[in-house]
């Protein structure tokens, strides 16, 4: 394990401090709406971190992750509705299915480069959306509605309060954050970055690029699917227009890009900022038609334009210019 996971103690301190803050924070919140925003932040953070593996680390920009999001949500929905299974189980089945589909589709699609890959994944997600829309077993356009106010429990992951949701989602955010951190400076992480930088030279130093890209694709599909499962349980209603539109695919990228792609906490930062902007503008400006999305779009443009490396570059600036001594380097 030691050779696989490589986490230094400063990260652990930071992580625990952040976690503590995230745990304590909701106790000061008296209305559900901010809590709802925080839950959304968790969902987007998970998705952003998942996408980050293929889009950020491996540099294969997928614009079709809504497919996996939808598959996760649907597996959970069908499991709960049709089989009475616990979401705690179905979410992992969803992860398996997503990874399986990522494996099958990834093999041909990952051969594509740049914009072609983005477009092919977009087409893939669009196919998925239309198929789910017309597939009566999964409820088709009517969607799946598994809201049942009589059964709130941990087994069904249905609660009348928002707090349990928040803490469950926070747990998964923390888990995936640790996973990302663990992989960040591991062989896997370095290999993905090498693939992103230059596939030819990556191959020349012995990296099985196709295999690692596929692994990253599957991993990210699994994580995004997990987010889908969690969101479905929170919303307790899913249909293809909610969980599979093209916009979600783009927003996942946006979360990661805004925070900083290929970094550990970038997607988390992006999720916090983007969700707050999105919800805040909607709550404030929705009196005029379209004004909220207009403001939202302008803010996104400004942030992406002036911080092309993400908000994370604000924090990292100091460290970059600093010349590290070999001792410090070892810690890195």
């Amino acid at each position: 394990m030691r050779k696989f996971i490589n986490i230094n103690k400063y990260f652990i301190v930071k992580f625990l401090a952040g976690l503590l803050a995230a745990i304590v924070l909701p106790l000061f919140i008296k209305t559900p709406f901010p809590l709802h925003v925080m839950i959304l932040i968790c969902i987007w953070a998970i998705m952003g971190m998942g996408w980050n593996f293929i889009g950020g680390y491996a540099g294969q920009v997928s614009n079709g992750h809504a497919l996996f999001y939808g598959i996760g949500a649907y597996t959970c929905g069908i499991g709960v509705k049709n089989f009475g299974a616990s979401p705690w189980v179905t979410m992992w089945i969803g992860v398996m299915i997503s990874m399986g589909i990522a494996f099958v589709l990834g093999a041909p699609l990952l051969r594509l480069k740049g914009h072609y890959f983005a477009l092919a994944t977009m087409a893939m997600a669009e196919c998925g959306r239309i198929i789910f829309l017309n597939w009566s077993y999964v409820g088709g356009a009517t969607g799946i509605d598994f809201f049942d106010r009589s059964k709130p429990s941990w087994y069904t992951m249905q609660f009348t309060s928002k707090y349990p949701y928040y803490y469950i989602f926070l747990f998964f955010v923390a888990l995936i954050l640790l996973l990302t951190k663990g992989l960040d400076k591991s062989k896997f992480g370095y290999y993905l970055r090498a693939i992103k930088a230059n596939e030819n030279s990556a191959q020349s130093v012995g990296i099985h690029t196709a295999k690692y890209k596929l692994l990253a694709f599957m991993l990210s599909a699994g994580i995004v699917s997990l987010a889908g499962s969690l969101y479905a349980n929170y919303l307790q209603y899913i249909d293809p227009t909610v969980v599979m539109p093209l916009n979600i695919s783009m927003m996942i990228c946006l979360v990661a890009v805004m925070g900083g792609i290929g970094t550990v906490i970038g997607p988390l930062v992006g999720a916090i900022v983007l969700t707050i902007i999105s919800e805040y503008t909607r709550a404030t400006f929705s009196y005029i038609n379209g004004f909220d999305l207009f403001v939202y779009g302008v803010l996104v443009i400004i942030i992406v334009l002036y911080m092309p490396n993400g908000l994370i570059s604000l924090f990292n600036k100091k460290q970059k210019n600093k010349i590290l001594t070999p001792l410090e380097m070892e810690r890195k």
Binding site: N198, Q203, G206, M329
Partner: protein, 240 residues
């Protein structure tokens, strides 16, 4: 006298264009082989065929007893061939240290062991003062160094160097020759493409001459320089 690499009737065609035609030669363990030839002679194509970037149209490449003709670059690298690129293909946005580290991971499973190894390679290649620099910010000479360091970090048995001396000043060239000698001492066979004749003649044990995709001559530097065909085809302009 163990043969490490054997080219057997290697032919590579791109559509109608024949880049390499019926090339046969072999390399013995521990040698430094210089490969010379005018521009467009098919040297880099041959390199690409050996390292698996593309596969031969016909013929075979046998490395250390294994037929690697149809193998992929990463498999070939695992088997023990490291290469550099004529146009340096550094992993931009990664530091010099990380560039070499990625290559070190080829033989070292754990990060810490790989880091140790990386430090050695970096020290050997004289890149120690740049380790935190972004590879994209290096100058051409440093990038070429980095190419060598990266190839070396994969712990190859055979190293393919593609024009690592081009554009270097006299002093830098000396350092580079030094480096090549050191690499050889560590027991690595080297096949190098080089335009700078002075370098080829001084370090190579044997020289292979390509012209228009064909093998023109093979032998010690002295033999080759006296070969009439070579003089006509390649050195023709300068010998009068």
């Amino acid at each position: 006298m163990k043969v490490i690499l054997e080219m057997k009737h290697a032919t590579k065609k791109f559509g109608g264009l024949i880049a390499n035609e019926d090339i046969t030669f072999s390399i013995i363990e521990g040698e430094i082989i210089g490969m010379v030839g005018p521009n467009g002679a098919g040297k880099t194509t041959l390199f690409n065929s050996i390292s698996g970037t593309h596969s031969l149209t016909s013929g075979h490449v046998i490395f250390d007893g294994t037929d690697i003709t149809k193998k992929k670059p990463y498999e070939i690298c695992k088997l023990g061939i490291g290469r550099t690129f004529q146009i340096p293909q550094a992993l931009n946005e990664m530091s010099v240290f990380e560039n070499v580290l990625v290559a070190s991971l080829n033989r070292h499973q754990s990060i810490s062991a790989a880091k140790e190894h990386t430090k050695k390679v970096i020290a050997m290649c004289g890149l120690a003062s740049f380790i935190f620099m972004n590879a994209g910010d290096l100058n051409v000479m440093q990038k070429k160094r980095l190419e060598i360091a990266r190839a070396l970090a994969t712990e190859p048995k055979l190293l393919l160097l593609d024009e690592t001396m081009a554009g270097l000043s006299g002093v830098e060239r000396k350092e580079a020759i030094n480096l090549i000698q050191r690499i050889r001492i560590s027991g690595i066979t080297i096949l190098m493409i080089e335009h700078v004749m002075e370098v080829v003649m001084s370090v190579s044990d044997r020289v292979v001459v390509l012209s228009s995709g064909k093998l023109l001559a093979e032998g010690t530097p002295e033999e080759v320089t006296q070969n009439q065909q070579v003089i006509q085809a390649y050195l023709g302009g300068s010998v009068h």
